[in-house]
Every structure is written in C-alpha cells, then in structure tokens.
C-alpha cells in the first residue's frame, strides 16, 4: 500500500515544457561549471546511463517486466555502431558520426524484435529467466565469433574519422567536450521521447498489463503483443545508449553485453525508483557516481554500491524518487517542521554508522589487497596501522555505536513519519478533488 500512496502525488504535471527546457539548459550549462576532464567524463557517462536506465524502466517500471539481460540490446547496438564507425573511417559508409546512435538504436531494436519475440511470450519469473538465458547466450556468442565481436580485446574505432559536423572543421568529436554535447543532445531527445511514450495508448496499456495482465486480455489486448512492442521500443533506446558508449569510449568488448552491465542497469533503475518516470535518471546519476567517481578513491566501490543498494531497498523500497516525492508531499502539507529533529538524529547516527563501516571496509581491503604497501594506510588523511588492534577496535566501536543509535532514532522517526502520512492520507480522503 505504501507504493500506492506515493503515486497520487504528482507535482510534475505543471509546465512540462518548463521542466524539459530547464533540463536542456542544465545539460548545456553544466560544462561551464564542471570543465575539468574528469567531470566531463563523469557527465558523459551519466548522460549515457540515463538513456540506458530509462529504457530499462520502460520494461521494469512501466510494463512490469524484470529483465536480467538488457545489456544485450545496448551492447549489440554498440557493436553495430562501432562497425559502422570503422566503415565510415574506411570510406565505405557515408554517414555522420553524430547519427551513429541511430544505427545502434535500430540494431538494438532489431534484436529486440528477435529476442523479444521469445522472451515476451512469458511474463513474470519465466520472462526474467529467459532474459537471463539470452544474456548468457549472447555473451558466450560474443566470445565465439571474434570476427564480429573482436574476441577478448573487443573492437576499437576512431570517432574523429568521419566528416566534421555541419562542415565546421573543428567539430570532429575529438575533444571530450564535443562528445559530451553530442551525448547531451541525444540524452535530452531520448528522455523527451520516452516520456512522451508514457502518454500514448501503448504506454498506458503497458501499465495496465503490468498491474493486471488478465484484465488487460479481457479488454481486448494481447498482452504478449504489448510486452513485445514495449521491449522492441525499449531495446531501441538501449541501442542508442550503446551507440553513445561506442562513441564515448571508442572501444566495445564482450563486457558491453555482459550480465554485469545488465545487473548494473537494474541497480540504477531500482536505486532511482522504478515507479516514477524520472526515478532512473536519479539512479543513473548515483550509479555512475559510484562506479566512476568513487572508484577513483577506493577499490571497494562495488562493496559501497552494494551496501547502499541494500540499505535503500530496506528503508526506502520506492527508491530515491519516492523518497524525494514523499518528502515534498510532507512539505506541501506544511508538516516538515515536525520531521526536522527526527531527521537530524537519523542522519547523524546513519553517518556515524557509515563512517564505522567505511573504516572497517577500508582496513580490510588494505589488509587483503594492498599488503605489499606495508601495514599502514591513510584513512581520511589519518595514518592507521592495520597491524595494531587500535584502528580495528575504533572502527568497530564507531559502527556499533552508530548502528545502535541509528536504530533508536529510526524507530522514533518511523513513528513520526507514519503519523504524518496517515494525517495526509486522511486529509486527501476527506477532500477529494
């Protein structure tokens, strides 16, 4: 029921154009504030992941299809884009680099037609299992046919080989900034297109099939057909994301169709919140932050991502988007003041527990992976001797205190929270629009 409550609040209905305009402006202006090479890399990958995660959510959130093999479509799209890029470089294909994602999208969609025909005959768990199987199959095939997939090393290309954009000689997509803008344009276009799709007969019927496939059959819809069409469209957008990957990295390998990628996009969509259109956008940003930015600082980034994911699923199963909207709703009803103190308590104790966790993880990683560098590691700039019991005891103590205090404050918070939610629900019930 918690999930049902959330969706009744939709502040995004006003000024859709304002929101899209603002989004586009944000994409355009970001490099002015984050112009460093690393920031550009990060933002480029976020843009790609946004498209990928949104395409995934066309299945998970909108059609109720849990896929474990979505990277098949983005990955195959990327391979086709890369081959096209090499043809362009060789002069045997006359096609602008900027439109490569379209080729990738069509390739993705084509495989959506073929594989989707098999997978979407079933829904629910059988669907999930078949996608897992197809994912493994394509991954295995990618290593079996080195001619097309390039074997272990993958295939590489040169994105600057094509004719410059609009005939302007400096627009060759050599600089990362130009690639960023190319990604930004595709990303905004795809976001708008995928959002528009949610407001079409097919998009709405997909929701109906998600909620109750049997009922959908009895109002005249072939649910297999609905799922198939949604999967084809979804793999088209996934293919576009793959094409952008090919341009961004100039290399595509078996890793692009792997289960790791498929799992990643599932994680991103879930972290952001599959019940909302914009959820996966948040999820993609957070996911790329973990996998690209955090991995610069620590080898344990995957562990942190895992812990973050588990925590989120436990305490906010609706994802970041639901968390955000629930709080906005509390604010709208002017009840946020009552949550302020509980929030401070919960956040401070959560931070303490997180600090303890980070210390433990980093110490352990140092002992198991970096033994060659001696027993002393630096945590937050403070040297710590992993050979001595001191840091370990401290870490465990901080974690324990934080976790216990967190549990105490969390209960208090949960009480306050549900009280407020019930008040709001009652008000809504008594004042139907």
């Amino acid at each position: 029921m918690a999930e049902l409550r959330v969706i009744t609040f939709r502040p995004l209905n006003f000024g859709r154009w304002v929101i899209w305009g603002f989004t586009a402006l944000l994409f355009a202006l970001l490099p002015a504030f984050f112009s460093k090479g690393f920031a550009l890399t990060l933002m480029s990958q976020m843009g790609i992941m946004i498209v990928f995660a949104l395409s995934y959510n066309m299945l998970l959130g909108q059609s109720g299809m849990l896929s474990f093999g979505h990277a098949v479509y983005s990955g195959l799209g990327a391979f086709f884009a890369m081959h096209a890029m090499n043809r362009i470089a060789a002069g045997s294909l006359d096609w602008p680099i900027s439109l490569l994602p379209l080729i990738a999208g069509l390739a993705g969609g084509f495989f959506g037609v073929i594989f989707g025909y098999l997978t979407t005959r079933k829904a629910g768990t059988p669907f999930a299992m078949i996608t897992l199987g197809i994912g493994e199959m394509v991954f295995a095939a990618s290593l079996m046919f080195p001619g097309f997939f390039g074997g272990e090393g993958g295939i590489t290309g040169n994105r600057t080989a094509g004719p410059p954009l609009f005939g302007i000689s400096s627009l060759t997509f050599g600089p990362q900034l130009q690639v960023y803008y190319l990604i930004a344009v595709w990303c905004v276009a795809c976001m708008v297109a995928m959002f528009a799709l949610t407001h079409t007969p097919l998009g709405r019927i997909a929701n109906a099939v998600r909620d109750n496939p049997e009922r959908a059959e009895f109002i005249g819809y072939n649910t297999q057909r609905v799922r198939w069409l949604m999967l084809i469209l979804s793999s088209f957008f996934a293919g576009i994301a793959g094409g952008l990957t090919a341009i961004n990295f100039e290399i595509v390998s078996a890793e692009n169709v792997s289960a790791v990628r498929s799992g990643g996009v599932l994680l991103a969509a879930f972290i952001g919140g599959a019940s909302f259109f914009f959820g996966p956008i948040l999820g993609a940003i957070v996911f790329v932050f973990f996998s690209v930015a955090l991995s610069e600082y620590t080898k344990a980034w995957q562990l942190y991502l895992g812990v973050f994911f588990v925590t989120l699923v436990m305490f906010a199963p609706g994802g970041l988007a639901s968390l955000l909207l629930m709080n906005l709703r509390v604010m709208k009803f002017g009840k946020f003041k009552r949550l302020r103190d509980p929030y401070v308590g919960v956040l401070l104790t959560a931070l303490t527990a997180a600090l303890g966790t980070v210390m433990l993880i980093e110490l352990t990683y140092h002992v198991t992976l970096d033994t060659g560098q001696g027993p002393v590691t630096r945590l937050f700039g403070i040297p710590m001797d992993t050979g001595a019991p001191g840091p370990w005891v401290l870490a465990a103590f901080v974690l324990l205190c934080g976790a216990l205090a967190f549990e105490y404050y969390r209960r208090h918070f949960a009480e306050c929270w549900s009280e407020i939610q019930i008040e709001i629900e009652d008000w809504i019930r008594d004042n139907p629009t």
Binding site: L4, T200, L202, R204, R215, F218, N222, T223, V226
Partner: protein
Amino acid sequence: MNALELTGVCKSFGRTEVIRGIDLAIPSGERHAIIGPNGAGKSTLFNLISGRFDVSSGTIRLNGQPITNRKPFEINRLGLARSFQITNIFHRLSVFENLRCAVLWSLGHRYAFWKNLNKLKDAEDRAEELLHRVGLRRRRDTLAGLLTYAEQRALEIGITIAGGASVILLDEPTAGMSRAESRRAVDMIRDVTQGRTLVMVEHDMGVVFGLADRISVVVYGQLIASGTPAEIRANAAVKEAYLGQHAEAT
C-alpha cells in the same frame, strides 16, 4: 438471433468433470441469470465462454460466430466482455485511467505509440461518460486500489461495459455488498446493460428475480432448468435441488 449459444459444452479438470454437457441459448437483448449451489460450475461456465479456460468438448457461438477456445482478447474484440467474482481492476492506475484503458481498443487506438493519449478526445469523453454512469465521478483521480469495495465493484462493471460489447457477463456483481449498495448496483446494472445481452451469475435471489428476464439453474455441472422467473419459482426440481434450501437461508 441468439447472442450466445452453447452446444454440448463439457469441461474436465483432470478426471473431475466440472461441466457435463450444457446446452444453452440466450437471445439478444435478454437479461439472463445463472444460479445454482456453490461449486455447481457457474464460474467455470463463465470462464469457458470468455476464453479463460478451453472447453474439453462442445461449441460456443457468440452472435452466430464460433468462439470455442479462442483467446480472451479475441473473444472480447468480437463483442463479449466480462467482470470477475474477485475484483479485477488496474490497482495502480486512477479510476479515470482504468476506464480510459478499457475504451482504447474499441475506439481503434490499439497499440498506437505515436498518438498523444491526452489529445484523444473520443477516449476521454467516453471515459468521462462511463465515470458518470457508474457513479464514480468524485473518485476520478483516485487510485483504483484505494477505492472502497463497492466502488471497486462499480469500477469493474464500468471496465466491463466500456468497450461497447454487445454481450456482458457479470460474475456475482453484488457479492459482499450491503443491502443499500446492492440496490444501487442493481439500478446501475439495469441502466448500463440497456440494449445489450446480460448474463450474470448471482447468489442474491432479490437481485436475480429483480433483474433477470430468464433464469437457468446449474447443478453439478448440468442445466436442470431454464425459464422465466415465475417458471423457475414453480419448478419442483429446482426447488428441491436449490431454491428450497436457499430460500430458507435468506
């Protein structure tokens, strides 16, 4: 012409025979009630007609066309719609969206992903009209999952009639309702099935005798009587098998 025609319809689950050779013809425009004790096979019969289950033998015709063992969505497109004994709606969509989804196919919008739903005036108007007819106007933007039970039943009927089907199957439309709710539901059903063929399974004899032009009695998967309410009331076999005990209970 007959709206529905069942000839020798049988259904077995494994070795259990649930429906044992039913012949039934329901003329167009009739309001027909199917009654019988629990477990007699009434709901199974509905599931066979609407394509949810395949028949073991026999044929079913809808407006003269054979629909035996066709898929539910095909049967629906040929003009038959049904409701369910256990409420079967789209819980996470608003009441309005539930009804709009239900009108899309019949208005020819099908699987369109190039049309803006909010600009489809025909679908919107039809959904609004349905909202009004099933009395859920004030709940237009409420999520269907949050409606009261009686409201969900009304929505279910709204979804069922939305596509303009000529034959409507209602499976215990007033089950679990209070007397007042039930009375309102009967008025609503009478109104929305005007000019269509109605077949319903119902336990409440007040509802059955108030609505039905003809009644069929199913016992142990067989049709033991079919006739006007007066004929059924006077039928000795029916009295013995079903009505007697039931009349005492109510």
